[in-house]
């Protein structure tokens, strides 16, 4: 579940960052009405207030109970909003008042409540979600049967289906407080009249209150709460970056069908994914026959998919004829370990004829566990695709037979009887192919009867004379059935492929158009024009720029209403479709789809239709998804192209700077060579000896600067390419001392070299450069006359080189020494480019070593370079020497 990829990490931190700004949700969960959730919530709220928290009651249902009402007394209550609906005054929670008031904690009772029509959100849980996004802490209550994924489990044993459900994901990061009451106690309370039941559902709800059902509900509530604690634990682990053993690597795929049973399968999959901590994908396999289904069933399918999305599934549509093969194939592609499918209880005869998808999936699933959810037949009865133009087609079929018989009568004298039944096959085949199975059967019947009537003895009777005629009849019928079936299938496939081809062509054209554009305005305009044309809607593209709404792409709509603005913000912030025909802010005129890209959400696509019908017809949902993706991609590409141009400009500037540095360094070198040679040619004596000494040391310093700059630019451009060879440290040290004029009389550097030390494996020139810098520094930093020691020895598989001085030593923070432009505090000794140690560190690391700095015992600095030992291959200097 947690791949330790950088993307996942980034995603995790973004999520945590977003969570940190959000309000916290505390949910008081009960198994049934009457367990005392509101009471408990109010008690806790009173305590919080006593602790100094700013607590406000948004809405709390006392149901006329005085203990509960008494608890309300000390708390501030927000006034309710009055809403006129069909002549009734309805009181609703006032979300705007709550947002304006901004308390630390607000109590909003009954999370599953449906708001009166005309409210901002149709559901109260959406109000709560908005409060949380706004950073306000919320406490609320819910009963277990209102949780979406458990809805049909509860309905299964209580036979009461509640319509008001809350999607699971809103509870995902909530703190759940289980308000528990043993069933017996609850029944006692009910009998004492202490439990309020709404009048309308009173009798039905009373069904809940049997000890058995209450026990089951209580167990469910306990399990749900325990599972939630589990998940919060794993969230915490994720936050802290630890990855525990809970990572199961499970992934779940569920096949969504169009029937009502599809919703049950989806909920089952959600519960399973929760238990397994597994991400899940809902797949629709669109077979040819499924494509032919119409109207209400497609809407049902769209609803089932929307349910899956609201429960946290990712969605996917695949066009394929073999449902089981396509499903198993998708499972393999997604590396799903669990496959969930529904299976209707059907007769054996039906299964024998049509085959069972479930059976076939189980057979094909390679290693994946298959979960089969049993469905009632009523849940999942596939509507048979209707044969095209039946009555007219049947008449045409019979007419065809009649015409054939007529012709046969005319040519009768020239044809043998054996050929007649063959000729009569013709209208049957034509009807079955062109007009469908049913028409084919009609033709077969007509042909058989005509054959019997006109062409067999006794003529003009329907008397069956010989068994051969029965066979003829049967042959005609079988031919009609076989050909009709085949032709029907071919026709449906052709229709599907035409549909798919048209869809693909439209999408390809759209993608082609989008790919050629290079400005946000232009992209928006073309996208809106094309999407509008393809889906027969009005389209706009809305972006948030510096928190202001910018509408693009359609000159007719320069501005949108406040509620549409709210919907845009919601769509962008939450990454879900919002507005008209959706679950959120559906009073808006527009439906907004977020344009999600790898760079974040780039805005939203707004769609509207002047008439009252749905903005997006169910048949267009798949195409819309692709169009939204393409539009998002086009926006992403434009932003990336902009960034790439910037990067190109920067890179070009960098290249120029590097070239400039190189040429400056080269041009400076030549005159500097002359200056150094000239000043060193003059003997240091006479009146200007001191000036000459200064000129010499300063020109040497300038040279060091120049070298440092060149080396630094080599490091920055990554052009250091070490030449590896085995190196005798004696050679390097000798060469360094020669360069620093420390190899003759009066040398201040003392060496201690273990001459049996193995060779180091490194680049001799880079290493020499480092040592020259370090030894030169040590000479400069230590008080005049005090020695500098260079020690070479080896330990294990490392050659160590130490440069030790008796200077003022180093500050404690030795790490900082190796940073660029770091200079040691130390009065007149400061004078380097500040690059020396940084270069040393980079060089040493480039040659496979490590450099450390510290203080020497008895005062002074100590630098240690550790290098790898060359592999001991030939130690004796060749064969004849041995």
């Amino acid at each position: 579940m947690t791949d330790p990829t950088p993307e996942r990490d980034a995603e995790r931190f973004l999520r945590i960052a977003r969570m940190a700004e959000r309000g916290r949700l505390t949910v008081y969960l009960g198994a049934a009405p009457g367990v005392g959730k509101t009471y408990r919530m109010l008690q806790d709220a009173a305590r919080r207030q006593a602790e100094g928290m700013d607590v406000v009651v948004g809405v709390a249902e006392t149901h006329g109970r005085c203990e509960t009402a008494a608890l309300l007394q000390p708390l501030e209550e927000l006034p309710r909003r009055m809403i006129d609906h069909a002549g009734h005054q309805l009181e609703e929670f006032d979300i705007d008042a709550a947002l304006a008031r901004r308390p630390d904690l607000i109590l909003v009772d009954e999370l599953a409540h449906s708001n009166a029509p005309g409210s901002r959100h149709p559901k109260r849980w959406q109000d709560v979600a908005e409060l949380i996004v706004a950073g306000i802490n919320v406490a609320t209550t819910i009963n277990i049967q209102h949780i979406e994924s458990l809805n049909d489990v509860v309905a299964g044993f209580t036979h009461v289906r509640v319509r008001e459900t809350v999607p699971d994901n809103i509870l995902e990061h909530a703190e759940l407080i289980l308000v528990d009451l043993p069933p017996e106690a609850l029944i006692e309370r009910l009998q004492a009249g202490k439990v309020y039941l709404p009048d309308t559902a009173g009798r039905a709800l009373a069904n809940f209150f049997t000890p058995l059902k209450l026990a089951a509900l209580r167990e469910m509530a306990l399990r749900f709460a325990a599972h939630s604690v589990d998940r919060r634990l794993s969230d915490d682990l994720e936050t802290s970056g630890e990855t525990g053993n809970f990572v199961a690597g499970e992934r779940l795929i569920v096949a969504v069908s169009s029937g009502k049973g599809g919703a049950r399968v989806v909920r089952h999959a959600k519960r399973l994914s929760d238990l397994l901590h597994a991400p899940w994908t809902a797949v629709v396999i669109e077979s040819a026959s499924a494509r032919a289904v119409r109207g209400s069933q497609r809407e049902q399918l769209a609803d089932n998919l929307a349910l899956a999305a609201s429960l946290g599934a990712s969605l996917m549509t695949v066009a394929a004829d073999d449902i089981s093969a396509a499903l198993v194939d998708q499972a393999r592609q997604l590396r799903a370990s669990q496959i969930v499918i529904g299976k209707s209880r059907r007769t054996r005869w039906f299964e024998w004829r049509h085959g069972s998808v479930a059976q076939s999936v189980i057979r094909k699933a390679n290693g994946a566990a298959v979960h089969v959810v049993p469905l009632d037949e009523a849940d999942d009865k596939p509507e048979k695709p209707k044969e095209p133009f039946t009555i007219r087609a049947n008449s045409i079929a019979v007419l065809l037979v009649a015409v054939t018989v007529g012709i046969l009568q005319l040519v009768r004298p020239w044809i043998a009887l054996g050929a007649i039944d063959l000729v009569l096959l013709l209208p049957v085949i034509v009807s079955a192919t062109r007009l469908g199975l049913r028409a084919g059967l009609w033709a077969a019947m007509a042909a058989a009867l005509s054959y019997n009537f006109f062409f067999t003895e006794p003529y003009h009777t329907l008397f069956i004379h010989s068994p051969a005629e029965v066979v003829t009849f049967a042959v005609l019928a079988v031919v009609a059935i076989v050909i009709g079936g085949l032709a029907g299938k071919v026709r449906r496939q052709a229709k599907t492929s035409v549909g798919v081809a048209r869809l693909n062509a439209s999408l390809a054209r759209f993608a082609g158009l989008m790919g050629g554009l290079s400005g946000r305005d232009e992209t928006a305009r073309v996208a809106c024009r094309e999407i509008g044309g393809l889906l027969d809607v009005e389209a706009i593209i809305v972006a948030l720029e510096d928190d202001a709404i910018v509408v693009r792409g359609n000159d007719k709509y320069g501005r949108i209403d406040a509620i549409d603005e709210a919907a845009v913000r919601w769509a962008i912030e939450n990454g879900v479709a919002t507005g008209r025909d959706t679950g959120t802010l559906n009073a808006a005129d527009w439906q907004f789809h977020p344009l999600k890209t790898s760079l974040g959400t780039m805005g939203a696509l707004g769609l509207a239709r002047p008439s009252q019908e749905r903005v997006i017809r169910p048949d267009d949902a798949v195409m819309l998804a692709s169009l939204v993706d393409q539009t998002a991609l086009a926006h992403e590409r434009i932003v990336l192209e902009g960034q790439a141009r910037q990067v190109d400009a920067l890179r070009e500037r960098d290249r120029l700077r590097g070239a400039l540095l190189g040429s400056i360094a080269h041009d400076l070198r030549t005159p500097l060579t002359a200056v150094i040679a000239a000043t060193e040619a003059i003997p240091v004596q006479g009146d200007y000896a001191e000036e000459l000494r200064i000129a010499r040391s300063e020109s040497r310093r300038l040279q060091r600067f120049l070298n440092d700059l060149l080396e630094a630019s080599r490091i920055e451009h990554g052009t250091i390419e070490p030449k590896w060879e085995s190196v005798d440290m004696t050679d390097i040290v000798t060469s360094v001392l020669r360069d620093l004029r420390q190899d003759g009389p009066g040398a201040r550097v003392a060496t201690r070299i273990d001459s049996d030390c193995p060779f180091a494996f490194t680049d001799p020139l880079l290493l020499r450069h480092v040592l020259i810098n370090l030894v030169d520094n040590a000479l400069k930093f230590s008080s005049s006359g005090s020695p500098v020691d260079v020690e070479i020895d080896c330990s294990g598989d490392q050659v160590k080189c130490r440069i030790l001085d008796r200077g003022p030593g180093l500050p404690d923070e030795t790490e900082a020494l190796f940073e660029r432009f770091h200079r040691l505090e130390g009065g007149d000794r400061v004078g380097g480019s500040g690059l020396g140690l940084w270069i040393a560190k980079n060089f040493v690391e480039a040659v496979g070593g490590a450099i450390t700095a510290g203080n020497r015992e008895g005062g002074g600095a100590a630098f240690t370079i550790a290098l790898p030992v060359a592999s001991a291959k030939e130690k004796d200097g060749g064969p004849s020497d041995a």
């Binding site: 150094i676 040619a681 070298n707 060469s735 003759g744 201690r752 290493l767 020499r768 060749g878």
Partner: protein
Amino acid sequence: MHRDVLIIDDEPAIRRLLMGALDRVGLSHVEAASAGEALRLAAGPQRPAVALLDLGLPDRDGLEIVPQLAALGVTIIVLTARDATEEKVAALDLGADDFVTKPFDSAELLARVRSALRRKSGALVDPHRRDFEGGSIDRAKHSVVIDGTPVPLTPREFELLWALSEKPGRVMTHTSLLETVWGAAHRDDLDYLRVAIRSLRKKVETDASRPKLVMNEPGIGYRLASLGDQSD
């Protein structure tokens, strides 16, 4: 008229500096600002003994004229930038004797020039005997004497010292030493050379950890200290 040194550099300032330095120690010289001019002078009546060659020339790559100058019997000292290791190795393999890194120190440069002139003039009296700083090697007798004391060497060490002592002060690249002593098949077996040099130093140096005789040029090769250039 014979001249000691041919200065080949396109920078007039450097040429003037080099001339001044040579003048002060009494060495005669002639100057060239291009490869063509240098070749003409080297082949001309002045017959310079040593060439100070800057490889960055306006008309041709300095490396190209190294073999031609060497064929004319000129001892070549290359003037190069500090980090141009490959250039140095190439020049040495093409026949140059030595190199001096810019920015140079005139004292060191003059020492190298003098050493080169000595190599040039030192006529080989005995083809089997070569002298070097503090000792000599005799191929006929297969003997090495350091500070008057005979030092026993293995055949490989002897061959190595013999190769180095052909022209003391001249830098021999790693590859050329390996080819001469071990054969062309071992031209990349740097470890052989390192091991042999270490054991040779233990026998011929007074302090093997501070060599004075067998000197290394990191990344390039070895040279034997030339006569008279100890401890400048």
